[in-house]
Point group: C2
């Protein structure tokens, strides 16, 4: 026989007060430590709370004090390892601050992002952390007018002292990475780029091109294929590249996921990495240290940045100062690149 669920109403502060024989105000004061209360009463109230299993109603509390104690976090994909790291950092940064994160995904769609903002505002988040996305700068600026906003992964001028944007120099890192390949003797380097409408993808392509040109090498459009940041496009892109340029000696993939696809394409063709083909990626996903061979890539300190941003907004909210932070992309040189001896 099915047990029926007991929809017993939650206990209220008033009931606790009655049980303990004091006024609601007193209970509230004990709960919040807002004022001194006689030890004997404290004991009575604590007992009553225990006995009744009282759990304060966060809504009523937020409503009464006009503060939600939460910060909105807009991510793009909750299942992505890339943003996942940042989320983990944000979580850690908020821990113990009294603020809790309200996480919503925008799935790279502007309408969903707008909707998320709507929800944040209606939930009265006290600050906002935005990971990437396509929200118009103007809108972000306007939000920054009302609450602290921290943007990760996009350089945005928020024009507000309480807000900030943290973005790494993709162009520069790509430049360094390609220069590294050039230094090791590679001359015909293919590039699998990310989606055209993605600013990071464009910046990485720019870095690639610039590195080449600074060495006096011509930029060849046929050495660049279009990808979409996912594995299959890396695999296909590699095949295309190889068909056009059998003499290519290295591939720069705009992210690690596509590099994985490239790696598999090479494996299928019987080409060894790095002996026959050098391969580098971007993002340094957790798995990249364990591919065979381990993949040379560029690490973005997502977790650290998330952590710092969380602390930043908390500091803004509590009127404290924030220690400065200068995140850097970091080349992770591993074993997927070989040295070519020039003729």
């Amino acid at each position: 026989m099915a047990h029926s669920v007991t929809p017993r109403q939650p206990v209220t502060l008033a009931e606790v007060a009655r049980e303990a024989g004091v006024s609601p105000s007193t209970v509230s004061r004990i709960l919040n430590g807002t004022a001194q209360v006689k030890a004997t009463k404290v004991a009575q109230v604590r007992a009553a709370i225990e006995k009744l299993g009282y759990k304060p109603n966060a809504f009523a509390r937020s409503l009464a004090k006009g503060a939600s104690s939460s910060v909105g976090v807009l991510t793009q994909d909750i299942a992505s390892p890339f943003y996942g790291d940042a989320l983990g950092g944000i979580e850690r940064g908020l821990m113990g601050s009294g603020y809790s994160p309200l996480i919503i995904s925008g799935h790279w769609r502007t309408d969903e992002e707008e909707h998320a903002i709507e929800l944040f505002m209606s939930r009265r988040v006290e600050a906002l952390i935005v990971l990437g996305g396509h929200l118009p700068e103007e809108e972000l600026r306007q939000l920054a007018q009302q609450l602290p906003v921290a943007v990760l992964g996009r350089p945005v001028d928020l024009a507000s002292p309480g807000s900030i944007s943290l973005a790494l120099d993709n162009r520069r890192a790509a430049y360094d990475l390609v220069t590294y390949l050039l230094d090791r003797g590679h001359r015909r380097i293919g590039h699998i780029m990310g989606p055209q409408d993605h600013v990071d993808a464009r910046d990485r392509l720019d870095g690639y091109r610039q590195a080449l040109e600074d060495r006096g090498l011509p930029f060849q459009p046929s050495l660049v294929v279009q990808g979409d940041f996912h594995e299959p496009s890396g695999l296909i892109g590699t095949q295309q590249l190889l068909a056009q340029h059998p003499d290519m000696t290295a591939i720069f993939s705009a992210n690690d996921q596509m590099a994985y696809g490239a790696r598999l394409a090479l494996y299928r063709l019987g080409l060894r990495v790095p002996e026959d083909m050098s391969l580098v990626g971007f993002d340094d996903l957790p798995g990249s240290a364990y591919t065979t061979p381990p993949l040379t890539s560029v690490r973005q300190p997502m977790a650290e940045m998330g952590h710092w941003l969380a602390r930043f907004v908390v500091a803004q909210l509590t009127g404290q100062a924030t220690e400065p932070f200068q995140p850097q992309m970091e080349l992770r040189l591993r074993e997927s690149v070989a040295t070519r001896h020039l003729p």
Copy 2:
């Protein structure tokens, strides 16, 4: 010169009412469609809302109607690809239902999980979705008494019709996987197991042992090494295994991450996969289809399960029926296993 932030107070429903020249009740009714309102007033109110940029206060609303329209989601690690998939599914399942997820991580620590529950209750979530974790069954059962609870990844008897637990048969899948290896002629199969206190890890070990015994092969403790579900332990475990059993022909890693570590260990030793050593993992992470060679593993339909669970709790909440669902582990046979010809 720094622009100072305008902490303009949020607009309230009362202000909208005044602006539109109607009573607050009318505005509320328009917002919620609770009753008929003259078209002319609707227009006036909409205009006022637009003009003032009114955003309803979710707290006040929840308080007044006694419902939060949110469901709590307890995950273990927001950055984990494993749970990430499930979260994505949950998000999709909740989308458009009027409920939004409140996600909190427990980091595999019971105290943090308890704390999360505390927060959920105080935020008055209307249902709970729990992904794995260590919360005592008794506590889950008690929660199920108060609201719909859906547990993923742990078989729990919640003793309540509105609640459910979805757990796949790890033992069985491990059994099948090892049997597959046996069928292909492997006789000395090593196992890198997960943390002892993890029920999935124990089940997978059980399946391994049972498969061996059902074929009349002795279970050898020295063929099992302890891991922790992370890559490095897979690497070290493989070295240990190989030191003891140079004649081993296959390794069954209790999860894909450790299999990646094993793969690298083999690579470093110059052992080819699958020619010299077969390797299988568990979980089928997104990257496993792109390792070299692609890794044979077991897929758990995390996203689908998350999606279904979300729909299940929504159905409970709205008093609808849920279509049944029988998730299955699925062997993903790829190229990391070779056939051994028995002497």
